[in-house]
Each structure stands twice: as structure tokens, then as C-alpha cells.
């Protein structure tokens, strides 16, 4: 009795063919591979936004979120689950996003407000003046080598 009950609870006794299926999984697999190729494409020389890395970052994060959604919806069967899925996933996801958003102004942007005097005591090497003479259009250009800005 308990066995039938647990398979009832899993919701697979009645609608076994309502979802899943090898065909669907393979389609998702192909999508995932294509998307991985897409984010890897930003590494190739053909990627047109080499000089504005932010475009690449946004693109890659969008691709990653899409991949994550595909995995969760199809492989983790969330698409076919009851509404409890929101209870368990939303709070955790929101707390994760809030954590990062709260850390960015205090820690992430700390060096942007450093005074000249603060820079002298800073653990980070002082490079705040360098991007201006190096590449005035893209002050946040991270693509240069680490030694690039030290020649000032």
C-alpha cells in the first residue's frame, strides 16, 4: 500500500506519458549544447563586441540563465510539478539575488570612492588614472593584461 502511495505522491502513476520522453530530453540536450557554444562564441575572434566586454558579460549571463531554466524545467521536471515549486525555489533565489545586490555597493564599488590619501594605504595597486589615458571610451575595460596599466 505504501508503495502505491509513494508513487502516487510522485505523480507518476497516472500521467507517465504526459511529460518527459526521450525525444524531449534530447531536444533540450541539443539546446543546451547550442547555448554552450553560444557563450563559448564570445571567446572566439569572430565575436563582434571584443572592445565592450560588458556586452559579452550580459550575453553570457542571459545564456546561462536560459540554460539553467531549461535544466530546471525539463530535467528537474519543474515544468510538470505542482505549485510547491515556487515555495521552495523563489525565496532561495530571491535571497541569492539580494545578497549580491547588497554586496555590490559596499564592497564591489569601494575603490571608486577612494581619495588620493586612501589609495596610498590601499591593498590594491593604484590604477585609477590609467584607463583614462589608455582607453578613454571604456574606463571599465578589463581585457588588458594585468601589467598593462602599470606603466603610468
Amino acid at each position: 500500500m505504501s508503495e502505491t502511495k509513494s508513487s502516487d505522491l510522485d505523480g507518476h502513476s497516472g500521467d507517465d506519458h504526459g511529460h518527459g520522453g526521450v525525444g524531449k530530453y534530447l531536444a533540450v540536450f541539443v539546446c543546451l549544447c547550442v547555448l554552450t557554444g553560444a557563450s563559448f562564441f564570445t571567446y572566439s575572434d569572430l565575436w563582434p563586441f571584443k572592445d565592450t566586454p560588458a556586452v559579452g558579460w550580459v550575453f553570457m549571463m542571459a545564456v546561462s540563465c536560459t540554460k539553467a531554466l531549461l535544466v530546471m524545467l525539463f530535467f528537474m521536471h519543474l515544468l510538470w510539478e505542482a505549485n510547491w515549486k515556487y515555495v521552495l525555489t523563489f525565496p532561495a533565489a530571491l535571497m541569492s539575488v539580494f545578497l549580491i545586490l547588497m554586496l555590490i555597493p559596499d564592497v564591489g564599488f569601494r575603490t571608486r570612492k577612494y581619495s588620493e590619501k586612501r589609495w596610498q594605504q590601499a591593498a590594491e595597486p593604484e590604477v585609477h588614472a590609467a584607463p583614462a589615458h589608455h582607453d578613454p571610451d571604456h574606463p571599465e575595460d578589463h581585457q588588458d593584461g594585468p601589467h598593462a596599466h602599470q606603466h603610468d
Partner: protein
Amino acid sequence: MGHDESEHQDHIQLEYQPALPMSNGKLIVWLFLSTEIMFFAGLIGTYIVLRFGAPAGTWPTPADVHLSEPIGAFNTFVLICSSVTVVLCLEACRAGRAATAKRWLFSTFLLGSVFLGVKVYEYNQKFSHGIYPKKPRSLLHERANLEYAAALRSPLKAKRDELDKKKVELGGSETTENAESEEAGEKQVESRLEESEERDLQKYNRLLSGVVEWAEYVATDPATPEAERRDVLVQLANYVSGPGHAHGHAETEVSPFAGQLDQERDELKAEQDRLEEKQRQLLAARQNNSGSEATQKADIQSDLAAVEGRLKRISHRMDGIGLLRELKHGINEDYQMHLPIVLPSGNMWASTYFLLTGFHALHVLVGLIVFAIGMGMYLDPEKAGFIENIGLYWHFVDLVWIFLFPLLYLF
């Protein structure tokens, strides 16, 4: 048990109604996964904040830290495949095809092992380049300063002294055995410093006096302009770690430093000629003034000493330049050495990289253990709940990597 049930027959029969329409196991896995989301969000968030909080241009590029993007992409592909195999395993298990289910589970296990194997290879690459998560073994320095030059000097000096000592010992035995028979003479020929060791000794000497000590000398000389003092140390760091991978991987026949070094050599040559001329004049002056005042003689003597000291340094530097001109990828790579390198934010990068990938690899390892347990079972439809639960966990591991791959390898 049966007795118990008959006793309870008098009471009202309560039927258990679960709060959520799923088995306890699956509920627990999902609860666990929601805490895992926050756990990895903390780690990834820390990385994002530190990476984008680093002053512009100070965060290492993947090439600086020897991360290979194709390898990362391959690992992503491996994990995606393993996600598919585990989901196919669940399908087969539910359909009652136990043997097929086991095959898919075994494939998942294999793919997970491949992932970990690649990780081991990658970690080895980091370690071989002196990138460690912890300071005492890490060879990364934040800035090219005098402290860095000193950190370069001490291992070179230790190696040089070791060979020097060996040479002196062998040389010493030579003198004592000189008077003895021919047999002893034969022995000392064997125990002389080997040719490769002799070459190493010369190399260390040239690196020490012609590269490191020269940079320290220029950087601490009060006559050197401020900007040049910094440049000479930055240049020193570049000689060690190579011209920077960010600017093309092309193999060149000519050393990337050749132009700069040739210019320096020409300047030093001119100075050398000037100083030699001055040295001749001073020597002549010393001879002519042999009978004159003591103070004047002392002046000439000190000038001569200064000129000779400078000339000696220049000749050391010329040797050093000769050695540096042959460099293709930097001292460390060309000479198979493990000298400290300068990589701004490199230690912070190493900490976050090893923390993120380490915890992820740990999760993969746990997954592999559970798969191994699953492979010992007969996977009939009864085990579908178990397979589904480990599948959920495994998909989550894949999900984390989906974010880690672009963040670590492509950003």
C-alpha cells in the same frame, strides 16, 4: 506489529495526508537544494563582487592564470551529457528496464569521473605555475616592488650558492688530492661539476647580478627618476612571467623584449665607453699627481672606485641583457623555473577560483559516491524515487557549473 494494529482498531482511523504532494525523500532533496542555492549564491556573489570590485585592469585574465577556455567548455559539455544520461536512467528505471537504467547510471558515473579528471589536470596546471589558494606556497605577488625583487633574489641566490658550494667542495677535494696517486686524479675528474650544472651556475649568476640586482640597484639609486624606478621593477616582473599572454599567442622568432633591450644595450655601451675614457683619464691623473696632495689623491681614488664600480655593474647588466634577449616566453617558462611572478589581484583570484571550483568538485565527488551506491542496486521501478532524487541533485551540480563556466573562464 500485528498485535499493535489490533489494539489500535478501537481508535479513529486517521489517514495521513502529506502537506506537499510528493514523497518525503524528494521534499528533503528539494529543501536541501534550496539551501544549496543560497550556499553557492554566497560563493558566486563573493566572486562577482571581488572581480568587478577590483580596480580596472587588475583582475587576471584567464590566460594570465593559465585557464584554458576550450577545456572549460569541454567540461561543460561533459556535465550536460551526464545530466541527460541521468534523466534517461530515470526514464528507463520507471519503465522497468533495469539493465538499461544501470547502463545510463554507469555512463553518468563515467562522465562525472571525466569531469573530475579534467579538474585534477587543471589544478595541477595551476600548481605547476605557483598558483595556490594559500600564501606560503603561492608565488603570486600583488605589485612589482622591492619586496618582489627580494623575493626573486632569494631563491636564485639559494640555487647559486648551492652550486657554488658544490663547486668549491669539488675544487677543494681537487687540491687535497692533487699530490696523491693517479687513481685519485681520475676520481676527481668524475666528481667535477657537470656541464649542465656549470651552465646553470652561470645562468643563475647572470640572472642575479645582471637582472635582479641591477633592477634593485636602479630602483634604489637616488639618481634614478621616480617613474623609471617603478618601470624597471615592472619590467623585471615582465621578464619573469613573459610578455603577457593577453596580447596574442603568436610564436615569434625574435624575443618580445629585444627592441627595448637593444636600446638599453646601446645606451649602456655609450655610457661604458664614456666611463672607460674617464677611467683612463683618472688613471693618468693618478700617475701624474703621484707627488701632490693627499686629499687630491683620495678624490681621484674615490672617483676611480665609483667609475670602476659602475663599469662592473654595467658589464654584469650586459651579460644579463644577453641572457634576456634569448627569452621567448619569460624566464619561468623558458628556463623551467618557479620564480615569483607579479599578478595584481592574483591571490584573490586564486582564493575565489579554488573555493568555487573546489566546492563544486566536492559536490561532484559526493554525486559520484551516490552513483556508485546506486550501481550496486537492482534498478526496478521501486527505485525510481531514489534515482529521481540523485538526479535532482546531479542536475543542480550541473546548474552550478552552468554559471561557473562563463564566470570563471570567459569573463
